[in-house]
Symmetry: C2
Subunit: 263 residues, 2 copies
């Protein structure tokens, strides 16, 4: 078998953020598999076939890609951001684990990319300057009580929190609940970012207070990365430009040592 499979991260949107290694992997592929809008970012080329699919069939899409590789194709599974962060890489390994033994002989590699939280942080300043976490707010793949237990833990531990998949038409209330929970642990003035479509033409970065964010949760959408600051996250004001948002690297003492949240 001469086939292979590479899971390629395109980054958040602009071609300027696609690594040369990712570009090389795309150029070498005979078959591109992915969600339609990601495939649309890649030019058509003779001898390279695009296999577009819907957004919500990750494991089926992964199985299709593995089957093509098993036939001898050089397959690139195309992912937004970084493939390993709430994207296609885990789905491919789930399909591989559950699939035919022969699939384990396929060389599978992953090409990393700029994930949304890094792009959003870069635009804002340095909000990830301290310890941080990335949590998917979707309760499609885990119970909501797991989401809230994890949020409570990282809020008490004073990590900066990056929320992926914050809201969708089918999940309209979860982000509001998450931000209400954050209000029980962090000051109402804590900076919160709503970073929408960073790296794409419709990019929009909003810097809110936690209280404002909780009140305006419905203004986020599927393309938004929500970042909740730690207790030390703060703004540096500028004339005629949005403030920078940053989290100092130093921690004098931690709320999680002395208390489990505000009351």
């Amino acid at each position: 078998m001469s086939g292979s499979l590479t899971i390629v991260g395109l980054g958040p949107g602009t071609p300027d953020w696609i690594t040369p290694a990712a570009q090389t992997a795309l150029d070498a592929a005979t078959d591109l598999v992915g969600y339609g809008p990601y495939l649309d970012r890649i030019p058509e080329r003779e001898g390279r076939t695009k296999h577009a699919s819907d957004n919500r069939v990750e494991v089926e899409r992964a199985g299709h890609a593995l089957a093509l590789a098993a036939e001898g194709k050089r397959v690139a599974v195309v992912s937004g951001g970084d493939p390993g962060v709430f994207a296609m890489a885990a789905a491919v390994f789930e399909a591989l684990e559950a699939g035919p033994e022969a699939w384990r002989a396929i060389p599978v590699t992953v090409e990393p990319g700029i994930t949304a939280m890094l792009a959003a942080a870069a635009r804002a300043g340095a909000p990830l300057g301290g310890d941080f976490c990335a949590i998917s707010l979707s309760d499609n793949l885990k119970p909501w009580e797991v989401v809230t237990a994890r949020l409570a833990a990282v809020l008490a531990a004073d990590l900066v929190i990056c929320l992926y998949n914050p809201i969708s038409k089918a999940r309209p209330w979860q982000l509001g609940k998450a931000l209400e929970l954050a209000c029980q642990h962090r000051d109402a003035a804590t900076p919160v970012l709503f970073a929408r479509a960073v790296g794409r033409p419709d990019e929009a970065l909003r810097i809110l207070t936690l209280a404002e964010a909780a009140a305006q949760a419905g203004t986020a959408d599927m393309a938004t990365l929500v970042m909740i600051g730690a207790s030390s996250t703060r703004l540096i004001a500028r004339e005629s430009a949005a403030p920078y948002v940053y989290t100092p690297r130093s921690v004098a003492s931690s709320p999680c040592v002395t208390s489990q949240g505000r009351t």
Copy 2:
């Protein structure tokens, strides 16, 4: 003032992982400021001056870069990995906040890069398939009891844990303590990665059990990214190749809901 400052992420090491946007920022700079080994990765060029510094003077280095920009230079502060993740971006904003008012007129931008945990995850498979966190194990900038309180919280919440700055000559015992703490919360067979110098010629990826990792903490070094799997993280065996490591996207129920650790 026509000066500017860009904080540029070079990624983990290989030029193949430097984004075109980061390359453009380096090409446009009149002055490069950074830790010597990072500057050594960038070719000499007429009309571009390199200002190398030691590893442990981040805020002084940042102040020097801002002063050059205030003089009208186009400055690129060079950072390994992503500048926003335990690297130079927060140091620049700390220096900016504490510095002269005039510095706030300098246009400061950040060019994101591939951070070590994304590179390590890509090499291993998809260990970051679920919720995860990034914690610096250094107690130079925060008390050790803050580090352990945060570790206990994210262990109980069953996040995958990426440890930056795990060990150094001046901090020889912290990684062992952290892995011992992990043993109190997670099964001894939980996969742990020691991912050393990913993307560089001396790259070495080791897949251990948690028990092995705790016993071999001293074999990690400053160039190692340590990743502790969640309770669901597992291996997919292959013939004549290292196993893949991955974390399924789904969570049936969470240890943190029902208990605060194993006993």
